[in-house]
């Protein structure tokens, strides 16, 4: 499988990554190299093996749970510390209206 340039453009748009026309052939080559490696993995026979939902075998690490207790919050200044812009305790972003 290999990606054509239109698909690379679409994937970039979905990921909000701006690609210039000059970048396109390089990125296309990199993505196709990754797909080539995935194809190698697909050569492995997984007949009868349950698909894994994560990095650990099923049951090896049950999902940890927390109790329904409030332990966080009240740190608006820390949450906003890296915001490029703020108004009061709101994040401020360029106007987005549909």
């Amino acid at each position: 499988m290999s990606l054509d340039q239109a698909t690379v453009r679409r994937v970039a748009a979905l990921a909000r990554i701006r690609l210039s026309d000059a970048d396109l052939p390089r990125v296309q080559g990199e993505l196709n190299a990754i797909l080539g490696w995935i194809e190698q993995l697909q050569a492995v026979d997984t007949e009868g093996v349950e698909p894994m939902a994560g990095g650990a075998p099923e049951g090896a690490a049950p999902m940890p749970m927390r109790e329904d207790v409030v332990t966080e919050g009240g740190i608006a200044d820390l949450i906003l510390a890296n915001a490029p812009d703020r108004e009061g305790d709101y994040f401020a972003v360029p106007k987005v209206v549909e």
Binding site: L14, R16, A53, G54, G55, A56, E58, G59, A61, P62, M63, P64, M65, R66, E67, D68, V69, V70, T71, E72, G73, G74, I75, A76, L78, I79, L80, D85, E87, G88, D89, Y90, F91, A92, V93, P94, K95, V96, V97, E98
Partner: protein, 487 residues
């Protein structure tokens, strides 16, 4: 009696399915320890997980899982002991992670059903396709500044249940009845507060139209409708729009639309080039959610009695009408109040007092059943004072009004105001004598055959006794006295 819309070229049927987002009632968020309370200062209820800070890991809230399971059980649905969280990827300013943690291919709850009742008394089942857990996004404010949008992440990461119905509804009324029923069940279960004004419950409405007997045609989704009335209006408006498109030879395009409540019309929301591609994949931060069957059974055993069962019990055990039983079970808190009043007493009398005097008092005082002006115990005590003859029905109403005004128990009011009903035969006879003596002309008229004057005498005696005479005894004494010839 099926619902059809007459177009210019013949009748059309409407097909409706609902996706309802219900905010889970929990103290903390789905994957963080930040609080969920409504209306807090902006960004004051946000953890680093909710703000999508790098390196932070989600840890699921056990209670949110339990709430989803309880809801599934209340919807007669299959509980999936194995489910999984996937990432739903999209960009928006109020989604700091760049993805919503949701469930896609393996939801926690599968097929179920809800029974609805229509105004003509017909009952029918609406299928539930699935229920899954997901994170809410933050809130954007677009009207605070000319060039900026403001973002508040307090809601970011709050647990939502998305409840998807089958396309089983065929009229605006059915869609409204389904949403009302779902809301009632959620509130009974205590898994969602059902507050549509605050957005705790909101519906995406899928609508298509077809000729009777046909298969499904293309549907459109009307997003984020936030009241039962608007759902019904949106269904009709969208159905009429689609009929017009088809009848003019056009084709309905699958799209997302908004309901403009001021104009009563739907309008297109997103352009096609923005077509969604959420690129779901398993969230690598979360292992599968595996539930213990015994834990699920424990939740099932602890479920409260649901509205349909409770209503049926009121009709069967208390002899209440379907209507009265429906009113009293509309809200769990009303039913609890009623049962506390009815316990060990006449249930029909309890029902009349709750639906009549208490509801009127709630209205007048602008209070609700959670914080009533008269407690169930006090109303019950008032009924006891009627049962033991201390109070007549008329006096009881007077005492009840005083209870509403003062919040004091009935026995104290009866003592303070001397409202105890007079059952002493001597006192009643004395009052009767005095009234007849003072109205000799009327007595003569009565004896001459004007029998409706009897009510006048009763009124006069009651007035003379400041309303405290036992009505049955007053009637009896009057009849006895007027039955004798001499005055």
């Amino acid at each position: 009696m099926s619902y059809v819309i007459e177009g210019t070229t013949g009748p059309w049927e409407v097909v409706i399915g609902l996706e309802v987002h219900a905010q889970v009632l929990s103290r903390a968020k789905l994957f963080s320890g930040a609080p969920t309370a409504f209306g807090a200062e902006p960004n004051s209820q946000v953890s680093f997980v909710d703000a999508g800070f790098p390196g932070m890991l989600p840890v699921i809230n056990r209670e949110c899982v339990a709430q989803a399971v309880r809801t599934g059980l209340g919807l007669n649905a299959e509980i999936h002991l194995w489910s999984r969280f996937d990432r739903k990827n999209y960009f928006y300013a109020d989604l700091p992670q760049g993805y919503q943690i949701s469930q896609y291919a393996y939801p926690i709850v599968g097929r179920g059903s809800v029974e609805i009742e229509l105004s003509d008394g017909t009952r029918r089942k609406v299928g539930i396709t699935r229920l899954h857990l997901e994170q809410d996004a933050g809130k954007s404010l677009h009207d605070q500044h000319p060039t900026k949008s403001f973002i508040d992440l307090n809601r970011s990461g709050v647990a939502l249940m998305e409840i998807v119905s089958e396309p089983d509804m065929r009229s605006p009324e059915e869609a409204g009845a389904y949403l009302a029923k779902l809301r009632q069940i959620l509130r009974y279960l205590g898994t969602c507060d059902g507050n549509m004004e605050e957005g705790s419950l909101r519906a995406d409405v899928n609508v298509s139209v077809r000729r009777p007997g046909e298969g499904f045609r293309t549907r459109c989704e009307v997003k984020n409708v936030n009241s039962i009335r608007f759902v019904m209006q949106a269904v009709e408006a969208e159905a009429r729009r689609q009929i017009e498109v088809w009848e003019q030879g056009g084709t309905v395009e699958q799209e997302t639309r908004l309901f403009d409540t001021a104009r009563g019309l739907t309008r297109s929301m997103r352009s096609k080039e923005d077509a969604h591609d959420y690129r779901y994949f398993p969230d690598p931060d979360l292992p599968p959610l595996v539930l213990d069957a015994a834990w699920v059974e424990g939740l099932r055993a602890a479920l409260p009695e649901l509205p349909d069962a409770r209503r049926a019990r009121y009709m069967r055990d208390f002899g209440l009408s379907a209507y009265d039983a429906g009113v009293l079970t509309a809200e769990r808190e009303i039913a609890d109040y009623f049962e506390a009043v009815a316990a060990g007493r006449d249930p029909k009398q309890a029902a009349n007092w709750v639906m009549g005097d208490l509801f009127a008092a709630l209205n007048r005082t602008k209070r609700d059943i959670i914080d009533p002006p008269v407690s169930a115990a006090d109303l019950g005590a008032l009924l006891d004072l009627m049962a033991d003859g201390t109070l007549s029905g008329k006096l009881a109403k007077e005492v009840f009004e005083a209870m509403v005004d003062t919040g004091r128990p009935p026995a104290a009011i009866v003592e303070e105001r001397g409202l105890r009903q007079v059952t002493d035969a001597g006192a009643i006879e004395a009052a009767v004598e005095a009234v007849l003596a003072a109205n000799a002309d009327k007595v003569a008229e009565y004896r001459a055959g004007k029998e409706k004057l009897f009510g006048f005498f009763v009124g006069q005696v009651m007035k003379a006794m400041a309303g405290k005479g036992n009505p049955a005894l007053v009637n009896e004494a009057l009849r006895r006295r007027l039955g004798r010839p001499e005055v």
